[in-house]
Symmetry: C2
Subunit: 265 residues, 2 copies
C-alpha cells in the first residue's frame, strides 16, 4: 500500500452526511471506479438547458504518460461511449475541457433493521470531478482502447483481432478526464437499531433482522453460433471464476457478521 | 399492456446514436427505474460551480394522487437519500423545483466479438428529467417511505416496525420529482462482427466469440446476532428466489442465442 495520497476536500466533494463513511483516499476511489461496469457521466448542456445530461459510459483510470502508475497515484479517467455532438462541441469550445461529474455505485447488501427508518444498503460509491477532452493522438487512443477492453475481460485485447485499423480508430471516441477532485463513500456492517426498538420485545419477536448480501455474477458464457473456438479460453474462465468468488466473498464479509463455522467459506 | 404512452422527444432526451435501441415507452423506462437498486441523481450546484453534482439515491415511480396507476401511466419519481443543504436551498429557492437528471443502468451481458471495436454490453438504461421538490406533507411522505421500502423487499413495510414516529418522519427527506421527459436504451442480442473479420479464418479460428451473461444475485440472508426470528420469513425467501431466477433468465434470454436442449432452463 505504501503511499496514502488523498483527493483535496473542496466544498463540492466533501461528504457532509455520515462523514465516517467517507473516503478521500485515491486508491479506494480509483478501485471503485475501475471495478464498476458502468460510469454515469454528467455535464451541463448549456445555459438554456436546466437539466444536466447524464450518459452511461465505460471507463478506467490510467496514465498514458506513466503506464506503470498504480491505483494509489494520480491518474486520468479514460471513458468510452457515445460522445454526442453536444458534448463534443462544448468540450471543443472550452480551453480546459468539458466539466464532468463521474459517478459509480455498487450495492453489496440490503440492511434489514427493525424499522424502515434504520434500513440501509451496504455499498461502495465514488464520484470524480474533472475536465474531459477528446483523445486525438492515435497512439494514446489505441492505448486507452486496450486499457478499457482489458478492464471488461483481462487479456481480451491480445486475444482478439487487434490492433484496430484506421477506420476503427477514427470512429472511436475516447474522452480523457483530468481529475480535479473526488470522494468515495463506503458502508459496511450489519443492522443498527435504536434502543426504543431493540428493547421492544413485541418488535424483536416479530421482525427478522439481518443482511441480504448482493453481488454481481457472471453466468456460464454462451458461444455465438458462429464461434469456432471449441473450448472456452482459460483467461475468460479464470476471470469469471475469480470475479464471482471475490464478489460473493466481499458481499458476505462486508456484513461483519461472524458466520457459524459450517457456513464459512 | 393496453396503453402505449410515450415520453415527448425533446432535443435533450432524443437518442441520436443507435436509435433502434432507443425507447420512449413510459412503461419500459419506468420498469428500468423501478428495478434499479441505485439511481444517480444529478443537478447543477449553481453558476459558480462548473461540475454537476451527482448523488446515488434510492427511488421509485409512483402516484400519491392515483396510487392504483400502473407503470404505463405518468408517474412521479420519489427518491430518498441524503438531500444536501445545497440541494435543499436550490430546490426551495426556485418555484418549480430543482432541475435534476435521474440515471439508471444495468448490465445484462458482455458481448465478446472478434474485435474490441465490436465489443459491447447487453444493457438496459434510462434517464429522466424533472423538477425535484421536498415532500412536506406527512401523509405523502409516509406513503413514499412505504413505496421505497417495499421496492427494496416487497412487504417489508408491513413486516417491520411501522408507522414511523414523528421524529423519524421529520428527519427523513423525500424528494418528489415531477417528470418532464425521459428516454431509455436497451441492447440485447449476440455478437455482431464485420465481414472483414468473420471471413478471416485466421481470426475466427483463434478468437472465442459469445456472450457472458451478467446478473445480480441475492446471497443467503445472514441473520444479525440480535435477530430473534428463528426462520427466514417467507416473503423474504420468495422475493430472493424469484428475483435471482428472473434476473438470470433475463440475462440468458437477452443473448437471443438458442441453447442446446440439455442446457435450457
Amino acid at each position: 500500500m505504501g503511499r496514502t495520497l488523498t483527493y483535496p476536500k473542496r466544498s463540492t466533494n466533501t461528504v457532509k452526511r455520515y462523514g465516517h463513511r467517507a473516503t478521500y483516499d485515491i486508491r479506494a476511489i480509483h478501485s471503485i471506479i475501475n471495478t464498476s461496469q458502468v460510469l454515469h457521466v454528467s455535464f451541463s448542456p448549456g445555459p438554456d438547458e436546466p437539466f444536466p445530461a447524464t450518459i452511461p459510459m465505460i471507463g478506467q483510470m490510467g496514465s498514458f504518460e506513466y503506464p506503470s502508475a498504480d491505483l494509489g497515484e494520480p491518474l486520468d479517467c479514460y471513458i468510452h461511449g457515445y460522445v454526442s455532438a453536444r458534448m463534443m462541441n462544448i468540450a471543443r469550445d472550452s480551453e480546459e475541457g468539458l466539466p464532468v461529474c463521474i459517478s459509480a455505485a455498487k450495492v453489496d447488501g440490503l440492511i434489514m433493521s427493525l424499522t424502515p427508518f434504520s434500513h440501509s444498503y451496504n455499498y461502495r460509491s465514488a464520484i470524480l470531478h474533472g475536465y474531459a477532452k477528446l483523445v486525438t493522438d492515435d497512439e494514446e487512443k489505441s492505448w486507452a482502447m486496450k486499457l478499457i477492453t482489458d478492464s471488461v475481460v483481462p487479456q481480451r485485447w491480445d486475444n482478439s483481432r487487434t490492433p484496430p485499423d484506421k477506420g476503427e480508430l477514427a470512429s472511436t471516441s475516447i474522452l480523457k478526464v483530468k481529475i480535479v477532485t473526488g470522494s468515495g463513500k463506503i458502508r459496511d456492517g450489519a443492522v443498527s437499531d435504536e434502543k426504543k426498538d431493540y428493547q421492544n420485545e413485541e418488535v424483536t419477536n416479530r421482525v427478522w433482522t439481518g443482511v441480504i448480501p448482493v453481488h454481481e455474477v457472471f453466468g456460464e458464457p454462451i458461444p455465438s453460433p458462429a464461434n469456432k473456438v471449441k473450448e472456452l479460453p482459460g483467461y475468460i474462465r479464470s476471470y469469471i471464476d475469480t470475479s464471482n468468488q471475490q464478489n460473493e466473498q466481499y458481499a458476505v464479509s462486508a456484513t461483519n457478521i461472524e458466520l457459524p463455522k459450517e457456513e464459512q467459506h
